[in-house]
Symmetry: C2
Subunit: 308 residues, 2 copies
């Protein structure tokens, strides 16, 4: 019997087999196509399962999701944007398997809690900063789901000073200002000739003034969003992964300045903001944690005062 | 045996006796003095206890707090700002009493959950908008404490467009922009001759253009902070109490426009933002809930995945 983990990203799928130690092995990837998205996903899962019976599968998906309904609605996968019943589809593919499903940000927080910087941290934020910005929150010791499985949408905190339209329909979201894609777009508007967030980071490290400004703009907005989240949640640790987070001091310098400037409350002094030690497979690790947990890792207490 | 409830506000204390039905009766109030703050608080408690033995007392305090240490550090009570050991002091006053202590915002959320708009709501934000801005959050069914008891500090979410210094040491906090006191200060800077947030609201309803602008500015900032919190927490209900929240359409119109403009994600459609039905005694009601709960109303689950 095999246990699988699946990561549904905005641009690619990743899937693997969870071994006895909880590690994800035999990982395969496939780009998300414009049409026939489920066909590609199904073939990837079938090839990873490699004929074995599947007892459990954990799925982390780009958000938003409708977790209680088992439906994913990723903003950046047009064919699925209005909703795809991922849990039902996977159940049909692997009858009898326990299917567990969460937003990628919640999986990221599970992964950081399980084997990263958030191990044992009871109040924290895990973020990814790459082409988009997402995350998951740990509140009083547990990864929070929120009402529909979408808690942790740090990318859609409103930040000061910019009035940029966001793909979510809102205005001024930190994702629309500070993601790799948004930063590269802003730099191009200022005359920078490159294309990607990774190129932008290289250009900034080489001293290109537009690139330096773009990363300062992104770092400042990230620091402001982090300060807001930290005040609301009373956390002491923020861990950031994702490709664009690896842009170095041109991003992290202004980010730290913004956190110092905005996180003024006494209980936020010493707020740790650090780069994740997990690699791009972090969501997959979280999906594996989800697949392997005997009980629902998100389950809410039934003892105590609430819901009398 | 009497059960007491105490509300430590920025400008006044309130204390009462919790009756068998959980209601707070025989409420007495006292202004917070510049010096001798504990003396006034102690006298109030002694007079409310009225000679009865005290079995339990619930305390809600203006924040920040150091909840695990039983210390309150209210930003707006200078004598206590660096920390007053309220739990130890109350224990000495009423030996043998169970002393339970939380930030006022957490008490507010408990009160709304117990007898207000948040009854049965599993993911929500309770706010107070008066001379300051505070709140408490309900995450996956429970009022959250955060690391030090300060979860719910919505007043220190950073909002766009203003660069105002905040009493917390930060810059651009929604409290520095949108509280009654901050709004009145801004209006005076524009030439408005009045003094208080209540006067400002009356002037706006009478059509004074500076007052109308001041309330629009406040409502917009509140709507932005609410949108940020809603995206991060995945909540469906926000309830707002406090004197300045009763400013009517000049505040609520721009607030709703800002929520519509910024809360773009699908899972936030239909986000309810409403005026609290509880009056200024809400924190005291929450402190009573705290005093009466057999188990810790904030206690975290011990089953499930976290903290392995």
């Amino acid at each position: 019997m095999a246990i699988l983990a699946l990561d549904i990203g905005a641009t690619k799928f990743a899937a693997g087999v969870v071994d006895a130690a909880g590690a994800v092995t035999a990982v395969r990837r496939a780009p998300v196509p414009v049409r026939g998205v489920w066909d590609v996903c199904r073939e990837l899962l079938v090839s990873v399962a490699d004929g074995a019976a599947v007892s459990a599968i954990g799925i982390g998906s780009a958000g938003p999701v409708d977790e209680p309904a088992g439906i994913t609605k990723p903003l950046n996968i047009p064919e699925w944007r209005d909703g795809f019943p991922i849990v039902a589809a996977v159940r049909e593919l692997f009858p009898g398997a326990a299917v567990r499903f969460a937003m990628d940000g919640a999986c990221l927080a599970l992964a950081e809690q399980h084997s990263g910087a958030l191990h044992g941290v009871r109040n924290a934020l895990a973020m990814t900063v790459s082409s988009g910005i997402g995350g998951g929150i740990i509140v009083d010791g547990r990864v929070s789901l929120g009402r529909t499985g979408n808690a942790g949408h740090i990318g859609h905190i409103v930040v000061p000073g910019w009035d940029v339209r966001c793909a979510c329909g809102g205005v001024g979201c930190v994702e629309a200002v500070a993601s790799g894609m948004s930063s590269a777009r802003w730099a191009r508007e200022q005359g920078w000739p490159g294309e990607t967030g990774a190129e932008l980071a290289r250009a900034a490290r080489a001293g290109d003034p537009i690139a330096v400004s773009a990363l300062a703009r992104a770092g400042t907005a990230l620091g402001q969003a982090i300060s807001s989240a930290a005040a609301l949640l009373d956390i002491d640790t923020v861990v950031i992964g994702g490709g664009f987070a690896h842009s170095g001091e041109p991003l992290w310098g202004p980010l730290r300045v913004a956190v110092d400037r905005h996180a003024g409350l006494g209980f936020l002094r010493g707020l740790r903001v650090e780069l994740s030690r997990l690699d791009e497979g972090a969501t997959l690790v979280g999906a594996a944690v989800l697949a392997c947990s005997d009980t629902d890792p998100f389950a809410t207490a039934t003892s105590g005062f609430p819901e009398e």
